[in-house]
Amino acid sequence: MKNKNKILNTALLGMSLVSLSTTLVAAEQDPIKVGVMLPFSGVYGGLGEATRNGLKMALQEHAADLQGRKIEFIEMDTEAKPSRAPEIANSLLNKSHADFIIGPVHSGVAMGMIKVLKDKDTIMIIPNAGVNAATGPLCAPNIFRTSFSAWQPSYPMGKVALEQGFKKVVTLSWNYGFGQESLDAFEESFTSGGGEIVKKMLVPFPKTEFQSYLSEIGSIQPDAVFVFFAGGGAVKFVKDYDAMGLKGKIPLLGAGFLTEGTLEAQGDSAEGILTTLHYADPLKNEENQTFRRGYADKFGKPSDLYAVQGYDTGLMIASAVKALNGDISDQKALIHALENTKVKSPRGDFTFSKAHNPIQNIYLRRVENGENQVVKLAASALEDPARGCSM
């Protein structure tokens, strides 16, 4: 028995030596390690999946740009739980030695990741989470975002509301960081143009019992209502708004998430809602048409905003690897290449601000026949003010 063990040990040692030597030889041709921290289960599971699909699609389409280097994906399910974020980020950084860490969807998770990854030897690219701080007070050379800051989609709506002649508006959101930041951004542009917020309502997260708030709105009778809700809460709110008879009497405005991935479930109740966002499915530009067709063929279902953001993250990586001829070992050079990427996105071209947030167009959309039709450009090449970022 002892002998047998000895033989086994020697064999194992031999094998590991062999693999060690191949690692040394192949250093230049090592795969690029891409850690993926997305929610693949739970409420945000669908968003995580779409983001991953988009990311992989872009890297496959641009395989030639990777200068022969393969991509190794290490996928971790965050379950959208902020408490798990530091642990997973740590393992991707210190155990897997990921070159890029892509994630997350949820802003709370983003805060946990940043704590671990800020100024470390990896590149963090946020494909969704919009918490302002990520490219504000917590900004860092190795942190990028391909989605938006909370401020970006909501700020232009203040101006739109004034153009529509609304003077008194009620704002409403879940009581958490992103929701409040959205309301603040709307308020900033709306009140600076002479509008008045007659009441700001904050609903405890994740409560979806909206009756009492809707009754109050009905009794205040403002010119319009501006809200931030997403996912299941957005479905419920829009349906309840209609059922309480407010639809058609008090216009409903929102940050675009109100009608993203929710229109089918919202049905007729969503018709006529005005939202602002950095993307809309029916955008006419060529990149978007090609992307939408390609995505539907590949994955058998329609693409969405989250797929676009994942896709752009992939484009960004491919373009930086190409610019550096496949050698991403120098972090400074890599950051420089990423900063100067001009992403030819389905949402329209965008570049990066000093704080590493996209400078991008924001579109005004109206729900018509179950689709977010583009009404007009609400703001062109809008840059987040990046308050608190000293980079």
Binding site: V43, P204, Q211, S212, S215, G233, A234, A243, G267
Partner: protein, 287 residues
């Protein structure tokens, strides 16, 4: 708050409370009779909502979907009791917690596999889709009134069954003295199966009737479970009457708190629960 708005909010609170009762009644029934704390109770609420969505997609009929979903829930309850819950009767509460938490994960995983993670919605059935003009520009959806009436009817039926029928007599007997019921030649294990299946069905039916006024999303069961526990704890564990009163109280407290003290509204029902427990440590109607 003027008087009309007050009345509207009162209706909101009562209607929410009645729905809470429908969900919580099964939880408290099962605990009262069997001594089983079923943490997967909320999952059955979710299953009911998803089943309703699925069958409405397939058949277009809400009434049919409701009936078939209730039958399926009854079967699920039957199977789960016979295979899993049965193992727990002679074990302590910790084992019950472990098993029923495990069931939450299983149901969530199945939901993800079968129906995906996108938020879904069920349309309000055509016949009930109207709204009644109430005050100013506010209209009250007929379907919500229907839900409230339905919950009152269920409460009435439960009251009748428990106080007037043989099954109800057995349930009451089982609550107060299991051994004696067994000694009298009653098949207690059959009674347990029936009670558990009914408990599951009540939760699933609540999910069905709530489907048109909720968004059907993963995890919807866990959110409602916590509120249900507040209801059951306030009412007294195992008391149906307590669940009814507790649910109405929680519905009203939650509704008015969100208007009057919005900053505290997320914790108001818990503060209220703590207050009740200070006065009555076993809940309002503990046996």
């Amino acid at each position: 708050m003027d008087s009309t708005l007050f009345i509207v909010q009162l209706i909101n609170g009562l209607q929410y409370g009645l729905l809470l009762f429908l969900i919580a009644s099964g939880l408290t029934l099962v605990f009262g009779v069997m001594g089983i704390l079923n943490l997967a109770h909320g999952s059955m609420f979710m299953v009911g909502a998803y089943l309703a969505w699925y069958f409405v997609q397939q058949t277009g009929s809400f009434a049919f979907s409701a009936v078939i979903s209730a039958v399926i829930a009854l079967l699920i309850g039957f199977l789960v009791e016979r295979t899993l819950i049965r193992q727990l009767y002679r074990r302590n509460h910790l084992d019950q917690v472990l098993l029923t938490i495990g069931m939450i994960f299983v149901f969530n995983a199945l939901q993800g596999l079968l129906w995906g993670n996108d938020p879904l919605g069920v349309d309000v059935p055509q016949a009930l889709s109207a709204s009644i003009p109430l005050a100013g520009i506010i209209e009250y959806p007929v379907y919500r009134i229907f839900v409230a009436v339905f919950c009152v009817v269920v409460a009435g039926v439960m009251y009748y069954v428990i106080s007037k029928t043989r099954l109800g007599m057995l349930i009451r007997a089982g609550e107060s003295n299991r051994e004696m019921v067994e000694c009298l030649g009653i098949d207690i294990s059959r009674l347990y199966t029936i009670v558990f299946a009914i408990g599951v069905m009540l939760s699933a039916v609540a999910g069905v009737v709530a489907a048109p006024i909720s968004s059907i999303v993963p995890g919807m069961g866990e959110h409602i479970l916590i509120t249900c526990f507040v209801v059951v704890v306030i009412g007294g564990m195992g008391s149906i009457k307590g669940a009814f009163i507790g649910a109405l109280m929680v519905g009203l407290v939650d509704t008015f708190a969100s208007v009057l003290v919005p900053e505290l509204s997320s914790m108001m029902i818990y503060i209220f629960m703590a207050f009740i427990l200070l006065l009555k440590p076993q809940g309002l109607f503990s046996s």
